[in-house]
Structures are given as structure tokens and as C-alpha cells.
Amino acid sequence: MPHYTELNIGPVHPSIHGIFNFKLILNEEIIQDVKVTLGFLHRNAEKLSELNLYADNIIFFDRMNYIDAMNMELGYLMSVEKLTGIEPPERAQWIRMIMVELNRLAARLVGMGSLGLDLGMLTPFFHTFKEREKIQRIFTEASGGRQEVNYFSVGGVYQDLTEQMINDIKNFLPQFKKNLEDMYNMFIHSEIFWQRNRGIGIIEPEMALDYGVTGPALRASGIPYDVRKDAPYLFYDRVNFDIPISHEKDNFGRFMVKVEEMRQSIRIIEQCLDKITDGPFFNPQGKKSLMLRIKGNGEAFSRVESDAGEFAVYVNGNNTTKPNRVHARSPGLRNLSLLPVISKGLMIADFIAVVGGLDPVVGEVDR
């Protein structure tokens, strides 16, 4: 009879991005089974949203995927705007698009750096975080917040992008392109990085569809599904960009898809900066004095492509200033639910790499 060891990974562990608990059942180093315990960061965001005004709930969504806060806000606000009929003006839409893509870059940088950290390479982490810091400086200029930005508001954005901020972004992009390639080379020119990532955590396309996996994990399985392309929101139908896919199906494919999407994000931002129009940056119906009186009736559903995958928000209102029911579809949870299946037979080191490649953010998984 084989002898099994139980090994706890988490809730506090150097390479868990947030607080999960994985109980690994090990046969020497080979994983026989994984038991995932979630909920350490459950903050009741959905219920809290029912107790607060429409405009106040943005902060709970900021704190869901805290490294991709703009996308979370956008997902919620698109629902609320559908519900209340307060449409953001064109300039606000462009600003939102720029910010969302910048934040996607920032979130991908975190994912990239921490994947390196999980594999035991410390250096790229600092390089990616330096670039992320530059993006966060732009956010600070715009909103006053580095990470939990609280920048979008119902029917627009909190503050207009000044000429200087647009220049900042324009200056940021060319050097970021170069630095991104440097960081990418730092990973890709290492034979050990290939060894550690290829052929582990294989997600078959059918399996991915069964479990509702979205985002880079799905695209790395060869299915070109991206909400930005398949159900365009904002002005994603007015810009050119490609959806990268990989047929590797493994951790390496996921990494490559993420990097390629960063390049596409830069393309999108550049086009946005060219096409941005003048005009009001918020809808007068959603101005600050009226914010507390926003009422919604009926139900609305919206979805956005966040860092981890398809993030969707359902809002149900009964003609009061507070929503009746708010529900968020967490892509991280779906991606994570696959983990026990794909990590059977892997070694501990591979398991850590797979978690780093899926890059779940606990704030969003637990909500």
C-alpha cells in the first residue's frame, strides 16, 4: 500500500497569490489529489452591494480583482448604466478603454513577474513591477489611487484626461514596448523556463469548455474566445487587434498568450489615443449631485474581458436607490476549479507553476 503525505500549500505560503489552501495528497513528490479550500478572503461583496447605493458599490468591485480594478469597475458600471439608462459620452468611453487596457497591462505584468517568482527567478519580478509602477503613476494622476483606483463613475469617469496625462501615456508606450521585449526575453531565453512550463497543466479544449474556463487559459487551449471580439463593448469594434491563441494547451502556451495580448493591448491603446474625441467626460445625469439618487429598475447583465477571463455582472433593481441583487461571475473561480483535475500526477514544483500560470486573484475568486 502506497504511503501518502499531506502537504498544506497555503493559506500563508510564499507562492500563493492571495490566500487559498491547497491540501496536496502526495506520493513522494507526485500529486495524487488536490483539495482546494476557498473563502479566506470572502468579503461578502455581493451582499454588501445590495445595502449600498449604486454609485457606492464601485469600491467593492475595485477590490475584487484588485490588480485589474478598472475592468472590475467597468463590468459593474456597464450593468448599472444599462439598468439606469445613463449612457456615458463618447470621450468617456475612449478614456475608459485606454484605462482598461493600461490596467490589463499592469495585471499581466503582475502575473508575469509572479510566475517568475514561482519558478524561483527573482529578477524579472522587479523589472515587471517597475513597469507596473509607471502605469500606476498614470492612474494616480488620473484618479488619485494606485491600485484601487475608483476612477469610473456612473455615466462617465471621475476626472477628464488632461493633455499632460495623454502625453504621459504616449511617452510611456514606446519605452514599455522595448522593456516588454526585454522582460519576455529574460524568461524565454532560459532553457529551464521552457522545461518547467512545457507539457504541464494541460487543459484540453473540451475540458475547458465544460468547466467554463475563459481568458488566456481558454485561448491557450486553442479556442479564440474573447469578449472584446465576440461581444464588443466600449469601442472595441472600432479598433484593430488580434486574439492570440496557442495550441500548446499547457502553462507555456498560457504565458505566450498573455505576452502576445500585452502587445495587442499596446496596439489598442495607441489607436485609442489617436481616435479619442473631445467632448464631455461624463453624462450630466450621472453628475455628482445626482449620484445618490440614481434609481434602476429591471435587470441588466454585462460582461467584460478581464485579466483572468470573462467577468460578468448581473444587477437587478426594483426602482430604489439600491440594487436588489448583484451577482458577479468570477473567471478566476472557474479557472481554479479545473486545478484539481489538471494537477493530478504533477510534481509539487509543477503544481506551483500551474497555479502561477492560471494566476487566480483571490479577491475575485472569493468576492
Binding site: E6, E28, E29, G120, M121, T123, I192, Q195, R196, A349
Partner: protein, 351 residues
């Protein structure tokens, strides 16, 4: 003139044996002091160097340019409460860091440091078998790590110790085979230009090393350097630590200065490994121009190797344990054997 004999003469009023003993003691202390001081500088350089590569600043608060940072860290570690895990094997738990530390210190006494002007030859131990002694001590070192891992009964530590053992087993054989090739080559007078000292002592090998053996057998140099990286167990071969998987691997349950001793063992091994590579493969204290500055030659070579080691440390991800074992047995061992055969052919047929 040997420094040891100089000291011996100075203390000759004590009688033959007592003066020799005192001379030996003083020289050991001098060598260990030198090692400690250079070691502190080494860690400072490592931290600054690593910080530069990682776009950070590094230590700059304690003392001028942060030079006293290591002192502050050591004091902090000494001041920590010594937490002993429950259910430990007490003796093994306490003795493990000391084994690691002591084996490193003893190894430094054996190294032939070469000559330095007035002081003469700084070598402390003039034995005929220092090569064997050195690698004997190097194989004691992992015992500390293994004992530390299994004595605490923490799953992380046990897994770390298991990885450490698997790692040691897979690289030590190629390491010793590549050293064997050195012994073969260094015993032939046509390689060494006439001088055939005892080729089982480090000093003898280096004296014979008129042409650096790294030029004669580059394959051996590669195998031995990789083995030294694995011996010191830093990235990419930090398998027994595996900080992102096993918290801190074999040393997970250690705290305070006990952990500090393991850490010193790691850095000391980087330093010692560089010394050994420069002694065995790069000519040691022989330089391009023969002079009284052998010690400086050795130090410069060692420091360059240490910087290369640091560069490897900060830039590569960790290898998976099964990959490393495969690497050891499928690549390193055949390479080492090819190197050995090559050395044999070289010694027998090339004149």
C-alpha cells in the same frame, strides 16, 4: 619561506612542539579572520550586485554605503528568540547547523592560498592528501542539511531534505570523476614542465599547474563548475531550499542564528566553490607573470568566479528535481567520463 615556519621560528623559545602548535593556531585564526572579512564583503557585494540587476538600490542605511548591514542582520539574528519546534529530534536539530558551518570553516583552512611578498606562503595545512580531505569535508556538509531537514518532522523540511539527497547523489559522482582527471593530468611531467609534486594535495596540484587545467580539459571545468553550483545549492539548483514551493525547504523550522548558520554555509560554499574552481582549473596562485603575488592572482580569479556565480544565481529559474537528477546522470556523468577518458588518452599518448 612559509608563514607557518616563520611563526614557528618566532616562537622557538617555547620549544619545538609548542611553538609549532602555537604557530599553527595563529595561522588558522589569521586565515579564518581573512575568510570572515572577505566573506562579509562578499555578501555586501552580492546584495548590491543583485540589487543593481533587479533595479533596486540595495543596502544603504546602516553605516557608510550600508557596509554594516550584515552586522546589523547578524545582531538581529542573534537577538531572536530561539524557537525549537515540538517533536524534534533534539540532538540532530541542534547539531545540524553547526555541521554545515564547521565543515565550511575547516575547508577554508585546507585551501592553499599561495604566497604574498613578505609573509611567504600562506598555506596552513601542508598535508599530502588535502585534495581527498577537501572532498571528504565537502561530502560532510550536506549531512547538516539532511539532519536539519529530517529532525524537525515538518513535511516541508522532509521534502526539502529528500530533494537535497537526490541532488547530492546525482552530481557528486561526476564531480569526483572530473577531479580524478585532474589528478591524472597533474601527475605527468610533460604537462607540468618538469615539476611533479604530490598530485593528491591541492598545493601540489596547483604547483604542477603551469598550464591551467581548464585549458587542457575544458569539459572537466564545465562539469566541475556546475557541480560547485549544485554543491552550494543556489539557483538554478537550490532544490533543497525551493523557497517558492517548500517555504524554505530543509531549513524551514529553523530561526534566528541557527538559520543564519545555514545561510553562512550557503554563501561560504559559493566562495569555497569559486576557490576550488580557480585552484583546480584556472591555475590557482600561478599567474601569467611569475611573482610573489600568488595570493592576489588566486583572489582575483576567485572574485571573478564569484561574480559569475552571482549572475547565474539571480538570472535563472529553479530546475525541477527529476530534471536535475536526469541532468546529473544523463549529461554530467557521461561528460565527466568522456573527460576522464580524454585525460587518460592525453596523459598516455600526447607528448
Amino acid at each position: 619561506m612559509n608563514l607557518l615556519f616563520k611563526l614557528h621560528q618566532w616562537f622557538s623559545f617555547l620549544g619545538n612542539y609548542a611553538s609549532f602548535g602555537i604557530a599553527y593556531l595563529i595561522e588558522t585564526i589569521v586565515v579564518l579572520l581573512f575568510v570572515t572579512i572577505s566573506f562579509i564583503i562578499l555578501i555586501y557585494v552580492f546584495r548590491k550586485y543583485m540589487a543593481r540587476i533587479q533595479l533596486r538600490i540595495g543596502p544603504n542605511r546602516v553605516g557608510k554605503f550600508g557596509l554594516l548591514q550584515l552586522m546589523a542582520d547578524a545582531l538581529k539574528l542573534l537577538g531572536k528568540e530561539s524557537i525549537l519546534p515540538k517533536g524534534r529530534d533534539n540532538m540532530a536539530y541542534r547539531i545540524a547547523p553547526i555541521i554545515t558551518m564547521m565543515s565550511i570553516m575547516v575547508s577554508f583552512i585546507i585551501i592553499p592560498y599561495g604566497g604574498l611578498y613578505y609573509f611567504g606562503n600562506l598555506t596552513t595545512t601542508n598535508s599530502d592528501i588535502t585534495l581527498i580531505l577537501m572532498f571528504g569535508i565537502l561530502s560532510i556538509m550536506p549531512i547538516g542539511e539532511v539532519l536539519g531537514g529530517i529532525s524537525t518532522r515538518s513535511n516541508y523540511a522532509i521534502l526539502g531534505a529528500l530533494r537535497g539527497i537526490a541532488k547530492d547523489v546525482s552530481f557528486e559522482v561526476p564531480m569526483l570523476i572530473s577531479v580524478l582527471a585532474i589528478v591524472m593530468v597533474s601527475s605527468r611531467s610533460f604537462v607540468t614542465g618538469g615539476s611533479t609534486y604530490n598530485s593528491l594535495s591541492l598545493a601540489g596540484i596547483v604547483t604542477n599547474e603551469v598550464i591551467p587545467y581548464g585549458i587542457i580539459e575544458p569539459l572537466g571545468l564545465i562539469v566541475f563548475f556546475i557541480s560547485m553550483v549544485a554543491r552550494a545549492s543556489y539557483s538554478p539548483f537550490d532544490l533543497s531550499e525551493s523557497d517558492s514551493e517548500l517555504i524554505s525547504g530543509a531549513t524551514t523550522e529553523y530561526g534566528g542564528m541557527r538559520f543564519g548558520l545555514f545561510y553562512i554555509g550557503l554563501f561560504g560554499m559559493v566562495y569555497l566553490g569559486s576557490f576550488l574552481v580557480s585552484l583546480l582549473y584556472l591555475g590557482g596562485y600561478n599567474g601569467p607573470v611569475s611573482s610573489q603575488l600568488g595570493f592576489i592572482y588566486l583572489l582575483v580569479k576567485t572574485i571573478i568566479l564569484v561574480l559569475i556565480a552571482f549572475l547565474i544565481w539571480v538570472s535563472l529559474p529553479r530546475m525541477r528535481i527529476d530534471r536535475f537528477v536526469q541532468f546529473g546522470w544523463k549529461y554530467l556523468l557521461p561528460l565527466a567520463v568522456i573527460n576522464l577518458i580524454y585525460a587518460g588518452v592525453f596523459v598516455l599518448y600526447i607528448r
